[in-house]
């Protein structure tokens, strides 16, 4: 249907681009081979403009604009990598790295290299530490690796499953992903569809088997261990004496 839409013309880093109305700056830039870095945006989830790594300079305005959500407009002049943009990107990455374990987030590591982000720019900084959670046979949760991209919450809710097992608790820097009252996943409404694990970009959510292998367990041992766990699963909404096993 793109042929029916109005065409817009804009410049991105000096290149003239023509795109149908409704195209985001991010999409338009990709069409001409300009790579704007992103963290939070994902094809399976509604874009919320969270990470702001994709910010670009539009017409020299006071505010930089998130390319993943801002639609192109006719006559726009976009600069995707000038000094202002670089300061924001570098600082966001440095602040994130000071808070979260990014060791299993290779794409973010690459962004850090590209933007010259120093891993120890912010010394004496509080990190978001969370206990390792291993409460079900399907996947483990390590929220010290969580960058709050919201993808898991979104696929668990309206973007896919309508299960609503997850939420964001607290606010600001102390925000974290949680079930209601931090109950275990088997006690929550979780149906273990695995969608959240599939979209997590940082290793915060990981199949239990993958985690076991990382820990040097054998496949047989992981399976035995999972079977054992399955037997002990608490059942949501039933009293414990009705539980299976």
């Amino acid at each position: 249907m793109t042929e029916d839409r109005k065409l817009l013309s804009l410049t991105i880093d000096g290149l003239t681009v023509t795109v149908p109305e409704g195209t985001t700056i991010l999409e338009a830039a990709r069409q001409v081979g300009i790579d704007i870095p992103t963290i939070c945006v994902h094809e399976a989830t509604t874009a919320n403009g969270l990470c702001r790594l994709c910010v670009v300079d539009v017409n020299g305005g006071r505010l930089l604009q998130p390319a993943c959500i801002v639609p192109c407009q006719d006559g726009m002049h976009v600069e995707t990598d000038n000094a202002r943009v670089q300061t924001s990107r570098r600082t966001i990455l440095e602040m994130l790295n000071a808070a979260v374990d990014l060791s299993q987030a290779p794409a973010i590591q690459d962004h850090m290299t590209r933007y010259n982000a120093s891993p120890d720019r912010f010394p004496a900084s509080a990190r978001r530490e969370h206990p390792f959670l291993d409460d079900n046979p399907f996947y483990v949760r390590e929220y010290s690796r969580c960058i709050l991209c919201w993808r898991c919450v979104q696929v668990c809710a309206e973007d896919a499953q309508y299960v609503f097992a997850l939420t964001i608790d607290s606010r600001g820097f102390n925000s974290h992903i949680s079930t209601a009252f931090d109950i275990s996943l088997p006690e929550s409404t979780c149906v273990f569809c695995g969608q959240c694990v599939g979209v997590c970009p940082t290793g915060a959510l990981k199949p239990r088997a993958e985690w076991g292998l990382e820990q040097g367990m054998t496949a047989a041992r992981i399976q035995a261990n999972n079977r054992q766990m399955r037997k002990q699963l608490p059942k949501r909404g039933r009293s414990s004496d009705e539980g299976e096993g």
């Binding site: 919320n48 505010l63 924001s88």
Partner: protein, 569 residues
């Protein structure tokens, strides 16, 4: 002491709210919080079924608002404000004293379960600093002005505290009692609304507001008439009007005083707005820390409904307008208009991405006008006396009169009405009785504002003049610091405020407010490179944050850096 047994039972609360849908969530959580002191898993599961909201979502909402608790609290929760104005008045010592007397740390509950002590951000009682707020299980909240010790906090505060006001123009705050709300009989018969319903079409009301040049008084200075016109033209129905009474900007308390003293003026302004944009439902969203204003407004609504000034077929005109009060629950961000919509809709107060703007997609996705308390209080006067009348004060760009909230080191902290364009010096000397001690700095516009040095106080108070000195009038907060104050300590409090209030949605502010706080906490012993760190954080938050909170969270710091670079060495 009222015991918990007098409180409403969970079953009764659940059956009262059952079937009302998600937008009843905050009122329902308030009912449970007040009755039980906290909201536990059992209550959340019952509420989840009653309102058809996922239990995890409810838990996330509880976690977002500071006044909701998911763990048991004491029968009495004592909150002591440690924002700048109360800080100057000794609130740190007060908090220490209260904690010591009760044998707890901030955030803890006494072992007998009677008291919980918390530190809190600005309570909007800055002219009565230091201030506290007490929540009593089964009863609710009450404000404690001029708190001196534990006894004064726990004492009976049924005697009203008088507002301190003054005026160069004698419009909104003159000739009325300062220790109680103006009654309906004293206020009058809603004459502006009556004339409007008899004589004016909605577009004529909008035209009058446009002619006045009125700019919004909530901080962003957006033209009020233009906003109404845009909403009026939005074809999608229904339309909503909202009064933004979240007033949580540190140092701002003019809306509280207006609501406490002149509730009917606000209601008439709101009804006029509703008529102009053809809305039949209005909400008054008021911060949870304003119990007295909430109570007086509810009484005023009831009186206005009883007299036919609100409700169905107002004054026989066929125009219907209903107003509902919604209480916030401790979140500065809910003053941001789209976050406020989310709060009314029963969600975490995350700001939305704009555009679309509220006049097209607002509350419940419908066209909405949201205005500040003071903005709406200007409306009846403009309707009765016209735009030209209003323009006799102020400048071409900043028309009319404005309320300013002055706190800190002046003889008479209070709310003052001035014609826009009045130099700051005149406000301090003529209205506030002068600066106590030698002036060191003024913080304009609250935590989100900027500092002025003593040689800048001849600046006329207009939106445009303050912009040229890189400052802002914002909501009209003026905090005055004499030379006994350690400005690094003020900066530390501002850093703590934003760290506490960032919603956490976007990375620049979620991370930047934390990193900024850490550096401001160590201004007395900075690490090499801290100055550059603050500059980069400030630039990143200002340019790349999603909403106004993050975009202004470094403004005061950057303005101080420009004026007093030695503070950062």
């Amino acid at each position: 002491m009222v015991s918990a047994s007098h409180a409403e039972s969970l079953e009764s609360i659940i059956s009262r709210f059952a079937g009302r849908g998600r937008d009843a969530l905050l009122p329902a959580l308030w009912a449970i919080q007040t009755a039980s002191g906290h909201i536990n898993l059992e209550a959340v599961r019952a509420l989840s079924l009653a309102l058809n909201v996922p239990e995890a979502d409810i838990y996330g909402v509880i976690g977002f608002y500071s006044m909701f608790h998911d763990q048991p609290t004491g029968e009495t929760i004592i909150r002591v404000c440690t924002s700048p104005s109360c800080g100057l008045a000794g609130s740190d010592d007060l908090l220490d004293h209260v904690c010591q007397r009760l044998g707890v740390e901030p955030g803890q509950t006494t072992s007998d379960g009677r008291y919980t002590v918390e530190e809190t951000t600005c309570l909007g009682l800055c002219e009565h600093a230091p201030a506290a707020l007490v929540s009593q299980r089964g009863v609710g909240e009450r404000s404690v002005p001029s708190a001196v010790d534990l006894e004064s906090i726990l004492a009976d505060h049924s005697a009203p505290y008088p507002a301190v006001t003054g005026s160069l123009t004698h419009l909104l705050l003159d000739g009325i009692p300062v220790d109680r709300a103006q009654t309906l009989a004293e206020y009058g018969d809603y004459s502006a609304l009556r004339r409007t319903l008899n004589d004016l079409m909605p577009d004529e009301v909008v035209a009058k507001i446009q002619a006045s040049g009125l700019l919004g008084r909530g901080g962003a200075a957006f033209p009020t008439g233009l906003k109404w016109e845009m909403a009026r033209r939005s074809e999608e129905k229904p339309h909503y009007v909202i009064c933004n009474a979240d007033e949580s900007e540190p140092g701002t308390f003019k809306d509280r005083v207006l609501m406490e003293l002149r509730p009917h003026l606000l209601l008439e302004g709101l009804a006029l707005c509703a008529y102009a944009i053809e809305a039949e439902q209005g909400y008054l969203f008021i911060r949870g820390e304003y119990p007295l204003a909430t109570q007086r407004l509810q009484q005023a609504i009831d009186a206005a409904v009883a007299s036919g000034y609100l409700g169905d077929n107002i004054m026989g005109s066929g125009f219907n307008f209903h107003v509902e009060i919604r209480r916030g629950a401790g979140a500065y961000i809910c003053g941001e208009e789209t976050a406020l919509f989310e709060a009314i809709e029963g969600k975490r107060g995350f700001p939305r991405i704009k555009p679309p703007y509220p006049t097209r997609v607002g509350l419940f996705g419908k066209p909405t006008v949201i205005n500040n308390v003071e903005t709406l209080c200007k409306v009846p006067g403009i309707i009765n006396r016209g735009g030209r009348w209003f323009r006799q004060w102020g400048t071409d760009l900043s028309t009319g009169v404005k309320l300013v909230s002055v706190s800190g080191h002046v003889s008479r902290p209070g709310v003052y009405e001035i014609p826009l364009g009045t130099p700051l010096r005149q406000v301090l000397t003529e209205l506030c009785g002068g600066v106590t001690g030698r002036l060191q700095a003024v913080l304009m516009g609250g935590a989100a504002g900027t500092f002025l040095a003593p040689d800048e106080i001849d600046t006329p108070l207009t939106f445009e003049d303050l912009r040229t000195v890189g400052s802002t009038l914002g909501s009209g907060a003026i905090m005055v610091f004499n030379d006994s104050v350690d400005l690094r300590d003020v900066l530390r409090r501002l850093g703590a405020f934003f760290q506490h209030e960032s919603c956490g949605k976007c990375y620049p502010c979620q991370l930047g407010t934390q990193r900024q706080k850490e550096i401001l906490d160590r201004l007395h012993a900075p690490l090499p490179g801290d100055r550059e760190r603050l500059t980069d954080i400030g630039q990143t938050m200002s340019e790349s944050s999603l909403c106004g909170l993050g975009q202004t969270a470094a403004a005061a710091v950057l303005s101080a850096m420009k004026r007093w670079p030695h503070l950062f060495e």
